[in-house]
């Protein structure tokens, strides 16, 4: 297992480098030349010279990449055009807000999906199966930002129970999860984020448990006289590695893909930061945020893979 862990860790390095190449290339995807993308339009000739020198923009592209990578590895992700603050500071401040709602959402989705998935898998074709499957189809088909709009219509416009946007009455600085007057700001973003992973996780749970329930050893357990609950517990333990893998993937998707929901609720996380970067064409901010989020996703995938081998020792992948 340790050998596998070491090998998996090594495999992450080329992928991480590949991610930096794509993030670096984003500057060249933007219309106009990189200097225009990286500096505010009112930049002086001196600023331009300094930037060209700092990033080696007069040198060939591979050398530019190496210089950029060196900056990025030491935590220098450039300066936001709009706020004039270091990009890293902006991203770090926002990242916590995104992680907190993503983690809560994915755990919520996991618990509900497990319950519904197990109910469905043990009653294939029955009413509860149809009911759970319908929820799953709705979850994977619904645009999360539209769901956010619907929640605002119901709970803010019509009922007036929950605040439509923002994070806490005093902004994000004094936000506390333990006071309802503050925590209520997070309720709708969390619900809007939960439904898609709920649908996907519920489908995975249902299919993987139904698959295990069809195996021979279940028949043996039944022949030995085990009760229904005991058999289902056996099935869950066997299906768990597969479900855990999906769980990790969904967490990564939420952290990286919360831009739409955060935009609807103006939740001050990384997604909202990305939206701001797009609206103001702040390429350094866009690039830096995406780099951090993609690296977080790579890290989550790594951890999930390692956890999976720990949970299921049979997995000895090359």
């Amino acid at each position: 297992m340790w050998l596998y862990a070491a090998r998996r860790l090594l495999m992450t390095i080329p992928i991480g480098l590949g991610v930096t190449v794509i993030c670096f290339a984003l500057i060249y995807l933007a219309p106009g030349n990189p200097v225009q993308s990286l500096l505010p339009p009112d930049a002086t000739a001196k600023d331009i010279e300094e930037l060209k020198h700092a990033y080696g923009l007069d040198k060939p592209i591979p050398i530019q990449y190496v210089i950029w990578l060196g900056h990025a590895l030491t935590g220098n992700l450039g300066i936001s055009i709009q706020t004039n603050r270091p990009v890293l500071d902006e991203v770090v401040r926002a990242l916590g807000n995104t992680i907190s709602i993503s983690v809560i959402s994915v755990i919520l989705a996991f618990v509900i999906a497990m319950a519904l998935g197990i109910l469905a898998a043990t009653r294939v074709g029955g009413f509860l199966d149809r009911f759970s499957t319908s929820i799953a189809v709705f979850g994977i088909s619904v645009p999360s930002f539209w769901l956010g709009v619907i929640l605002v219509i119901i709970f803010s416009v019509e009922l007036g129970w929950l605040p439509a946007t923002g994070m806490g009455s005093a902004g994000s600085d004094h936000f506390s999860w333990f006071q309802w007057s503050e925590a209520k700001y997070a309720v709708m973003p969390i619900v809007a984020l939960t439904l898609t992973p709920l649908g996907i996780l519920m489908r995975t749970t249902r299919s993987s448990i139904a698959e295990v329930l069809a195996l021979d050893f279940i028949q043996t357990l039944r022949a030995k006289g085990l009760g229904r609950t005991a058999i289902v517990i056996h099935a869950i333990r066997n299906a768990l590695p597969q479900i855990l893998a999906m769980f990790g993937l969904q967490l990564g998707y939420l952290i990286g893909g919360s831009i739409l929901v955060e935009t609807v609720f103006t939740w001050p996380g990384t997604g909202f930061l990305l939206n701001k970067a797009i609206l103001t064409r702040d390429i350094p901010l866009l690039q830096g945020t995406i780099l951090v989020l993609a690296m977080a996703f790579v890290g989550i995938n790594l951890i999930v893979d390692l956890l999976q081998t720990a949970v299921d020792p049979r997995i000895k992948r090359a």
């Binding site: 088909s141 645009p143 416009v157 439509a164």
Partner: protein
């Protein structure tokens, strides 16, 4: 004597046995798929719904009650069933129903075109990687792995955010996002088929590489690839509407469901129900494509 009587008896008892073998043998693979689909009424219903949605988008100029871009200052943000504006009007007094019908053109284009291109490009790379194996496989698949290091929404936002808005940029973005997963599915299917006995048998009997690829590998790899591609249509529609919602899609005044939701959001407190309508269109289309693709998966007997 006894031999004759037995064959004679068999022939009279079952006269059609030789002429018509069991139906499943005659139909072949696609015939079987169609037989299973024919009795899957839920899938057929949603297939009909898709055809209806596509038709209403294609024939939007004929069925739309109003010009989708005709503004009316006097009738801004009217409720449902306001005079002839069945679904109300938007912030410029334009008819919502007409704009949803026209908007279907953009959304369906964004759902289908990138998937088709990605299936061809990704499928090609996947089949080559899976069939060639070795170094070629490593280069192609490790290259694709880098794209899997991004959640799809993030990758789309990264590319689209750098390229800027506009229909062409959105099409490029979606195609780039959808190609790696299709490539992976095609590669898995191809490398499984490549190691099967019948491919060895074909090679041993002197079949050329082209013949093996087209007659043996491609025909077997196509089902999982097609089923997977069909699941991506709804994903592509959702992703496209999300990008439009962020202002990275078609530019106004072109009607687009995601863009409509984004602009109508300002009027949430005035006409909440009307503001939600473009999203209903996205939801129904996306559900229809998802369920048809589920039905296809079952009919083609492809494992998830």
């Amino acid at each position: 004597m006894s031999d004759l009587s037995i064959t004679g008896a068999g022939a009279t008892a079952d006269p059609n046995a030789r002429e018509a073998p069991p139906a499943s043998q005659v139909r072949g693979y696609w015939g079987n798929v169609w037989q299973r689909l024919r009795y899957d009424y839920a899938t057929l219903f949603f297939l009909a719904l898709i055809i209806l949605i596509v038709a209403s988008a294609v024939f939007a100029p004929l069925i739309a009650p109003f010009d989708p871009n005709k503004a009316s200052m006097a009738h801004r943000l009217k409720p449902l069933f306001f005079r002839d504006n069945i679904l109300g009007t938007d912030e410029q007094g334009r008819d919502i129903l007409s704009r949803i019908l026209y908007g279907g053109r953009t959304s369906l284009l964004m759902g289908i075109a990138p998937v088709v291109v990605a299936t061809i490009v990704g499928g090609l790379f996947g089949v080559v990687a899976g069939y060639a194996g070795g170094k070629v496989n490593t280069i192609i698949m490790r290259g694709m792995d880098v794209f899997f290091a991004f959640p799809s929404v993030l990758l789309a936002v990264a590319i689209s955010g750098s390229l800027g808005g506009g229909m062409i940029n959105q099409l490029i973005t979606l195609t780039v996002v959808l190609t790696p997963p299709l490539c992976r599915v095609a590669e898995t299917a191809t490398s499984q088929i490549r190691s099967m006995d019948f491919v060895d048998a074909a090679r041993a009997s002197g079949a050329s590489t082209t013949s093996i690829l087209f007659n043996h590998v491609l025909v077997n790899a196509i089902s999982p690839v097609l089923v997977y591609a069909s699941t991506l249509v709804s994903a592509s529609i959702l992703l496209a509407s999300g990008l439009s919602f962020l202002g990275l899609g078609v530019s106004p005044p072109t009607p687009d469901w995601g863009l409509m939701l984004s602009t109508l959001r300002q009027a949430l407190y005035v006409q909440p129900i009307v503001c939600a309508m473009p999203g209903v269109a996205i939801l129904i289309t996306s559900i229809a494509f998802n369920l048809v693709s589920d039905g296809l998966r079952q009919a083609m007997d492809v494992k998830a």
